[in-house]
Every structure is written in C-alpha cells, then in structure tokens.
C-alpha cells in the first residue's frame, strides 16, 4: 500500500518537476526543443509520462507545437499570446493560429476549413466569435484588391492588379449598394465613365467561351491607374482659370495690373 502511495506521490511531484524542467529547456533553446532533447535531459522519464506532460503544457497554452523536417518541435509560447486567448477554447485557438500563419495576405474561409479539419458550421461560428473579440477581421476582397507582395515579379503583380468585368459585377451585386438590379452591361458602362475620368484603364484579352463573363470569346479587364502628369503649370496661375481671359488687355478695364483674381491669388 505504501509503495503504491509513494509511487503516486512521486509521480505527482515528478510531473510538476518535469513541467518546470521542460519549460526551462524551452527557455534555454528559444528555437524549440525536440523530443530527443527532453529525453536526453531526463532519461528516467517514461515516454507516456513525457507525452502526458507535453499535452498538458500544450493545452494550457504554454507550449507551441511545431513541425520541422526532422520531427516535432516544442517552443515556449510568449505570455502575451497566451493572455489573448484566455477564455477561448482550443478550436478557436487553432483557427486563430491558422489565420495568423497566413500572414498579411489573409486566407479564405475555405482554406481555414481545410487546414483545421473542422466542419463548415463550426468554422463559421468560431470566426464570428473571433471577430466579435476583435482578434480577426474579415476583408471582402475582389481579385483586384489582393495584397501585392512587392517581391513578386512585375508580371504577376500586373496580372493580379486586373479585375474582369464579371468580377466587378459580382462584387457590386454582393455589396448590395444598388437598389436596382444591375446587369453586366450596366457595370461596363459605369466602368467606361471611369475610363473617361482617367482613373481606370481597360484591356481586352481572348478568353475561352464558357468562362464566366466572356462575351464573344473576349474578356474585358480593368485596373486603376495613376495620372501621367501633375496638373500643368498653366492652371496654377489665375490666368489659366480666368473666366474673362479673352477680355483682358493692358490699359483696358480688365488688365493684369488691376486684376482682382491676381490680387487675391497673391495674397493667398
């Protein structure tokens, strides 16, 4: 009896000690420790116990589990991160991790589902929770707004900055800002006005029949552009904008010497 009791007590003590030891090892090797390292440090520890301790630390959120080419790595999680997720359960933490790993490019919800292996309804519920806690943000993006990584080659950058008229039409419909149902032709008319405003340019590419939005084997691509020149020098003077420019002569009633617009402009 006492043997059994003793064993259990040592087991309990051991667990706490082992936990602390593992934490110390993690701090010593901030890049992460492998199973092998823990085994070398505490050779008397049984694998099951080791696994139990590690699981406990993981569930407490004090340890991070990573995989590298040679096996599993355990790393100390910084306390700030741990604090943020207090009160969330494991699934939420997992989803958050997945989103965090995607970096600043963002990730589609479908991809979150694949990576976390959770059913769609669960994922949606978790996303809503995280959003209400203000930990993540949903960015509805059309292809044209996809974040452009400046290290990508210019060709990819340019191609990703285009949006087809079909995509724009879908986006506007989804936003629901229009009370009237807009067809793709209406959207194209509006895009043409933007071309005439000098804000957008269009190019036409050949597309296979049947792909969404192709008309007669062509697709129209639009993208935003910057102005080619700054406002020209002439319009920075009052004369360039003057409504009575034609009537202005020296010695006349309207003359540069007594021009009211010039006086205002000079005193500005």
């Amino acid at each position: 009896m006492s043997e059994v009791k003793l064993k259990r007590e040592t087991n309990v003590l051991d667990v706490v000690e082992v936990e602390n030891r593992i934490k110390e090892l993690c701090q010593q090797l901030p890049h992460g420790i492998t199973d092998q390292v823990i085994q070398n440090d505490m050779p008397h520890l049984e694998p099951q116990q080791r696994a139990m301790v590690i699981n406990k630390l993981l569930s407490l959120g004090q340890l991070d589990l990573l995989r590298n080419s040679s096996g599993l790595l355990y790393r100390m999680k910084d306390t700030q991160g741990a604090g943020k997720m207090k009160g969330s359960d494991n699934q939420e933490k997992l989803v958050y991790q997945v989103i965090e790993d995607a970096g600043n490019k963002g990730i589609w919800s479908r991809d979150i589902r694949f990576k976390s292996n959770l059913p769609l309804t669960e994922v949606n519920k978790i996303l809503k929770n995280l959003e209400s806690k203000k930990l993540i943000k949903a960015v509805k993006s059309v292809a044209a707004e996809a974040a452009i990584d400046s290290k990508q080659s210019p060709m990819v950058q340019r191609n990703s900055s285009f949006a087809t008229s079909h995509e724009v039409w879908k986006y506007i419909c989804e936003l629901g800002i229009s009370k009237v149902d807009l067809s793709m032709d209406d959207i194209e008319t509006i895009l043409n006005t933007l071309i005439y405003d000098g804000k957008v340019e269009m190019s036409v590419i050949a597309a296979k029949e049947g792909t969404a939005g192709s008309v007669d084997g062509q697709m129209k691509l639009y993208r935003g552009v910057n102005a080619v020149i700054q406002p020209t020098g002439l319009v920075r003077t009052p004369c360039g904008l003057c409504p009575v420019f034609e009537d202005c002569h020296d010695g006349g009633e309207i003359s540069p010497s007594h021009c009211v617009y010039m006086a205002e402009w000079l005193d500005f």
Binding site: G198, Q230, P231, G233, R236, S257, C259
Partner: protein, 596 residues
Amino acid sequence: MTAQEVRLCGLLLREHFGEVVEKVGTHLLRGGAQNLRIIIHETGVPLDLVKKSLCVLVQHGACVFSSGRKGAGSPTEYRTSCDRILRILRYPRYIYTTKTLYGDTGELIIEELLQRGHMTMSSTVKTVADRLTQNMEGQYLSVCINQGLSKLFSLFLKVFLVLRFLFFVEIEYDKETAAVLIPPFLLEGLCMDYGEVSNAFSKLVETHFLQRCPPMVAAGAAASAAPATPATPGTPAAPVSTAPPSPESFPDCYKVPHMTLVGRGKRQLCSEDGEDQRNAKRAKMDSQAHGDEGICWQVNFERFHLHFRDQAIISAVANKLDQTSSEIVRTMLRMSEVTTSPTATCTKPLSANEIFRSLPPSYNIARPIVDQYLTLLVDDPMEFVGKAGESGGGMYVVNLHRALANLARATLESVVQERFGSRSARIFRLLLRKRHLEQKQVEDFAMIPAKEAKDMLYTLLAQNLVQLQEIPKTPDFAPSRTFYLYTVNQLPTARMLLQNCYKTVANLIERRLFESRENKRLLEKSQRIEAILASLQASGAEPEQLTEVEEMITATEKQQLEALRLHINKLDSAENQVDESIFLLESYINSTASTS
C-alpha cells in the same frame, strides 16, 4: 508671329536689354525683313542707337542679316524671329539643369554664355575662373569679418565705406575692394585654376550642350565666294540663302580648339603696385593670344530641349508605372542620346541585352525581370516603349513622338479639368477617344443628365475647345436633317492653348512690373536704410544706433515690403511653371510639323 508672341517678346527684350532694343526688336518682329534705313525711319530711333540694338540682337542670335531681296548690291536686310527671344524665358531652367549635371562651374559657364550670347572659350574660362575665385574669397572674407580677425582691417573698411556712403551711392558690400587690405599670402590658396574650368567647358562641348557659332558669311558676297573663316571644308555651295546656315551643318561644330591657357582666376583689383604698371600688365594679358581667336561658342538650346523632353518622358513613366520602369526608360534614353536625331520619331532600336548591361549597377535586377518590365512597358496603353524586333533578346525603341502627343493630351485634359470641372473633363476625354459623337451619344456615354451635358458642351464649344462638325443628310443643310457631331482636334487645340500660355506669361510679367512700380518709393527707401545699416555694422556701431536706424522704417512699411517680396517671388515662379506647359506644347507641335 502672333500678337501675343510679339507682346511677350517685347516684354522680355525690355527686361533684359532695355527699351531701345525693345523698340527695334518689336518693330522687326512685326515688319519682317527690313533694311537699316527703313528701321530708322519707322521707329524714329537715331542711327547709332539702332546700330547698337542690332548688334545686341545679332550677338544673341536673335537677329540674322542677309543681302537684300532685290539682288546683289541692295542693302542688307535684318530679320528676327520669335523663337530665339522666347528662349529667354527658359534661361533659369537651363542654368539650373547645368547646375545639377555639372556643378557650380558648369552653371557659371552657361550663365556667362547666356548673358553674353557669343564668347570665345578663353574669355569664358577667364571670366568664370575670376567669378569662382571671388566667390571663394567672399566666403573667406565673411568668415574673417564675422570673427573680427583684424581690428586694423575693419578700421580701413569703415573709413572706406563711410567715404563711399557720403556720396549716396548704392552700396553693396564691396568684397573685391576689401581684398586689397587682406595680406596677400592668406589668399594665395583660394584661386580657381583655369584648367578645371577648361575641363568643365570641354565636357559641356562633348555632350553637345555648347556648340560653335556658325562662321559668318560676308553679306553681299558673290555666290562663288568661299566662307571667310577656316576649318570648314566642304560647305554647301550657296552661301547666299534665305535661311541662315544651322550650326550643325559645319563639321567642326563640337570640336574643342587647341588652346594655350594657363593660369588661375584673377582677384579683382590690385595687389600689384602702381596704377600704370597695372594697366600695362592688364593690356598685355588681354592681347595675349590663346590660339582660339574667331571661334565663338554659344549655348545649344536644342540639346537642352532634348534633355527636358527626356526628363518629361521619364517622370511620366514613373508616375504611371513605377520607379524601376522609369529607370529602364532612362537608361534607354541615355544610350540613345547621341545616336538619335532631334526630330526622330523614335530612338534607334536597342537590344534587351544592351539595356540590361547598361543599367546602373545600384539596381540589382535579374535579367528575366528586366525582360518582364520591358514587356510591361510595351503592353502599356500609353505606348512609351515599342518592340521593333526579336534579335538580341528583343529590340526595343522609345516612341518619342507618341510620348509627346500623350503628354500634350494630358496637358489639355488637365486644363479642361481645372477650368471647367471634372464632368466637363469627362466629356472632353470621351470626345478625344471616340472622335465624333452626337449630343445624345455624349450624354449616354458620359452618364451625365441631358440638360447639364448640353450646358457643358456649349461652354466648351464657346471656348473653342470642342468643335462642331456638320454632316448633312440633304444638300440643303437643313438643321433638322443634319447630323451635328462634336469633336476635338488635338493639334489646333494645342496651338490655341499655347497662345493662351504666352498671354498668361505676358500678364504675369506685366503684373510684376506694375507691383515694382507701385512700390518704387518704398523700395528705394529700404535700400538706402539697408546700406546705412551695413556700413554702421561694419564699423562696429553700438546697438542703440542700429535700432535707431531700423526704426526709420515703420512696421507697416516692413509688412508692405515683405508682402511685396512674396508677391514678386510668386509671380516669378509662376512664370517658370507656365514655361513648363509652353515647353510641352511647343515640343508636341514641332514634332507633328516635322513628321507631316
């Protein structure tokens, strides 16, 4: 010569050369080719003044002379053209460009040549070296005085300056005179060597920013007479022609003459002893031959214009695409600088290999990325760069004329936008793209309500930015049976805007002169007070005296002066800004003229 051009030329001539030259110049501009007698008779200016004005104009290349139209033996006729005089507006831009490219030495060389018109290389080098030396001295002196290095020196200065002040002469702080009093040995190291200036001069000639003046053909010479000066074998056979020979038609246009010029910049005035000795020495110096007599140099404006055009294209590419694309275009233009003629439609084809090798080393771009950038530039709707073949990894050209046309179009659109609003600008761009449209179509495409669209179209029509084209259905042009199509013609609109630019610059100059005239009394008073202050300060007056003098200007007057200074600066910089528009529009119009 339009009325606006003549008015602007008159104002520029008056500011730079005085009223007499203005009178003679504008008369020539209005009247075409005239001989001396007619000029004297019609302007009423005395003979010697007319001769001097004509000399000034010829010296600056604004006036050319040729033998009379009535055959040999008739008096020489003088002709001016607006172009050269309008260049005066652009002088600050030329000087600033040279400063950025070649530093202070280059800047001063160009400034001297612009002021004098034609000069030999030796005299330019000497003058510029002297100026640079004085600048260095001036800096050294101001350091000395601020530190109060020599009491004796300041005493001399006080006596000298008070004496000058007593005669109410406008006093600039006369550093040159003060140099007398500084021990010469302190100033020995502060001289500009002629060699350095000559180097800068040669560099400017190599890159074609300076050129030789074409040798003068004696007026009235028989057709068979050879040109007078040497170094031009194989000149075209007819020296008596209506158009003056261009400097480029002479093969030695850009050859630096062999010149013996050794020495350093001279300090003004005398550390030498004795007036007479000094004069004698100076006379000897001047008559020393340096081996380049008769070879005068002038600024090559066309080369500067090509440089400005390249800059405009590069900044347009940078605005539209990104920095790397503009660097590639800059490299392409740099490589084509001397191989492309000024009126070419596009540069000579350059292979992608060459472009990649010539990129600046600080740009670590891999070869395939450069190829991708070139493809992007070719695909861009603005068509800055075109592809001319596949050899050498792809042959690429810069489409100069198309780029100028795009820049001119952007200028026109910007004017319409700022003046009439963005919806009128939308209509304007729509018409530029679609050429001819009916009113109904304009409303539909631009998505502007009918009433407003009509209003805007009529306003644009009244300002002559948009034209109406009538296409009759029946021979009698009945209004109900005619199509009325709105259209925009880019070239005539550009010409019209160019005239507006000229008028605007003339207005700005007039306003500037008016403001100076209005406040003339105030300006003179402030100058006098500044002079008194300067002299008192140099002689070490007590602070009470200084404040007493300062209080001679009241606070309101100070405010007025400050406002006046701001106004004049604003008007000056506005002139330069409008000149940029003028440059773009002129280049575009000239490019269409050469191709048509």
